[in-house]
């Protein structure tokens, strides 16, 4: 069992786990023909069959059953805050499966020139009363039972009265904010706490205006909407759900990373000295001190940030996103590519932090402006 635990601890190092997740992601949600070919060749499309569902559920259950034997992981897993996150892992996969199963079934029908399943009226119609109401009533009773057992079995995670001078260690946000908390590690508070959540909300609201593809309205399908689905699932699965899982299971005292089977050592030492881009350039590269003028000091950061948002849109419009540019026109494409670049800035900033110990590209603490 020890080698297995060590293997999991190594595998779940967030640097490694996120890298693996990001690079294997397009094989699960192929966004072009090349990935699609490999998706078939590696039989990853079996994930959306009934056998795939059973295999994944059994695999996950086994992992948690084995995991609960371990004293360290039991503490994390059975904490009343975290039990729902274990459920969330199962539920996210299940609902992903429900839609992707229908999508792959419809893809098969469409490729043979037939209409999707939902096109035909079902022969057997059911009545609202009593059929639907009956199902709803049963669901309601089951939910009530679950909530009753849950509320009796798990104590509410209440703590001592709040004391501004004592912050629990680690201090975790409610589970639905753990993605934001993870983002806050890499960005300035006003960016990660105010600007990005606003962009996320408005970005989600903008989706129906950007994605006008009529394919798949009223039924699930993947083939003709693979770019749209891939981009959305990347933001949802990798940059939201995975960050919640990392925040729940892998963040420990002093907000250090810990493997699921690793002892939460308060004195775990991870020597890292983060420096700003201006310090890397002026002190390490040029060997001169930091210039006193703020704009001169941060000019390279401004070049990088503005370059990122000014160079990539036209570049992408001429290459990979050419079709989308032609579909959406100047304004629509501008909004779309801005949202896309904002989304990708999170993993980019994470890697800059992990590889170069970079704190901020632009750092003007004098005016609370850091990117």
């Amino acid at each position: 069992m020890e080698p297995f635990k060590n293997f999991i601890d190594v595998l779940t190092q967030p640097t490694l786990m996120l890298t693996l997740a990001m690079f294997t992601f397009p094989f699960f949600f192929p966004m072009n023909d090349w990935f699609d070919k490999w998706n078939r060749r590696l039989r990853l499309n079996l994930l959306w069959t009934k056998a795939g569902l059973i295999a994944v559920i059994i695999g996950l259950t086994l992992f948690f059953v084995v995991g609960v034997q371990d004293a360290e992981f039991r503490l994390i897993m059975l904490k009343p805050d975290n039990v729902p996150i274990v459920g969330l892992i199962f539920l996210v996969y299940f609902f992903m499966w429900v839609s992707m199963k229908q999508a792959s079934d419809n893809d098969k029908l469409l490729s043979t020139g037939e209409k999707p399943n939902e096109y035909h009226d079902p022969d057997e119609k059911v009545l609202v009363w009593p059929d639907l109401v009956y199902v709803e009533f049963i669901s309601l009773i089951l939910c009530m039972c679950l909530l009753l057992v849950w509320s009796i079995g798990l104590d509410a995670p209440l703590e001592e009265p709040a004391n501004p001078a004592a912050t629990p260690n680690p201090s975790k946000a409610p589970w639905y904010f753990l993605g934001l908390q993870e983002m806050l590690v890499y960005f300035d508070p006003w960016l990660a706490g105010v600007v990005f959540p606003t962009i996320i909300i408005f970005g989600l609201m903008a989706i129906p205006y950007l994605d006008k593809n009529p394919e798949g309205s009223g039924y699930y399908q993947f083939k003709n909407r693979r770019l749209a689905i891939s981009i959305y699932m990347f933001g949802w699965i990798i940059l939201w759900v995975l960050l919640i899982i990392i925040g729940t299971f892998l963040r420990g005292p002093n907000w250090n990373f810990f493997g699921p089977f690793e002892y939460w050592d308060i004195h775990k030492l991870e020597p890292l000295t983060n420096i700003n881009l201006s310090e890397i350039i002026y002190i390490k590269l040029f060997n001169t001190g930091l210039p006193s003028n703020i704009l001169v000091r941060e000019i390279f950061g401004f070049i990088v940030v503005f370059g990122y948002f000014l160079v990539f849109p036209p570049l992408l419009a001429k290459t990979v996103l050419k079709r989308i540019y032609l579909q959406l026109g100047n304004f629509g494409y501008g909004v779309f590519v801005f949202l896309l670049l904002c989304m990708l800035s999170l993993p980019i900033k994470m890697y800059l932090r992990w590889i170069f110990n970079l704190k901020y590209l632009i750092a003007i603490p004098e005016y609370f402006f850091n990117i």
């Binding site: 004592a166 912050t167 806050l184 590690v185 002093n254 907000w255 000295t273 901020y360 603490p365």
Partner: protein, 190 residues
């Protein structure tokens, strides 16, 4: 043809007049045009007064009669109570201040993380302040060196009182990035 067409038109007119006169009669009895405007003004004034009073009362909440907060300036005893090379956390809970004495003197650090405002912990073995919320780390001096904190911890005004005790004044802060740490009141030479 035209005679036929006129007939219903006239009928329509007369019926319209009839309804209009009935309508005017009922309105006349209730409200007139001038009094309507003055009633409207009364209503708006009443609404504005009620809303204004409501918001005044809400504003009043921000200025309570009694403040159950520790005072902004306080005395922490004579300098020889503080050992050289130690970070003193005895005032952390009550006043939100760390007192640090090095070979040159004493300074008072704020316990508020400059990233998002949690209270970091002093880790003696690692010789650093480490924030449990997002992992920001600060050296003994208050300089930020790890995690996302954008600027060093703030220092409070520290002076000697007349009775030989150290006086900390939290209403005056000194920020490193503004070059204020060299201010004579940011550091107590002992």
């Amino acid at each position: 043809m035209p005679a036929e067409a006129e007939q219903p038109l006239q009928e329509k007119k007369s019926s319209q007049q009839a309804t209009a006169s009935v309508g005017e009669g009922t309105i006349k009895e209730k409200v007139q045009r001038r009094s309507f405007i003055s009633w409207l003004a009364v209503a708006w004034v009443a609404f504005a007064a009620a809303t204004g009073g409501f918001f005044t009362m809400i504003l009043r909440i921000f200025f309570p009669n009694v403040l159950f907060e520790p005072p902004q300036s306080f005395k922490i005893g004579p300098p020889d109570e503080y050992e050289i090379g130690l970070v003193d956390i005895r005032w952390q809970a009550k006043f939100g201040t760390w007192i640090i004495r090095d070979s040159e003197g004493i300074y008072a650090l704020s316990t508020v993380c400059t990233h998002l405002g949690c209270t970091p912990n002093w880790l003696e073995n690692e010789s650093k302040f480490k924030c449990p919320c997002h992992g920001s780390g600060f050296r003994r001096s208050g300089i930020n060196f790890e995690g996302p904190a954008p600027r060093p911890l703030e220092r409070y005004r520290i002076v000697m009182a007349d009775d030989g005790q150290i006086l900390i004044d939290k209403s005056k802060k000194f920020q490193y990035e503004k070059g204020q740490w060299s201010d004579p009141e940011a550091f107590l030479v002992v």
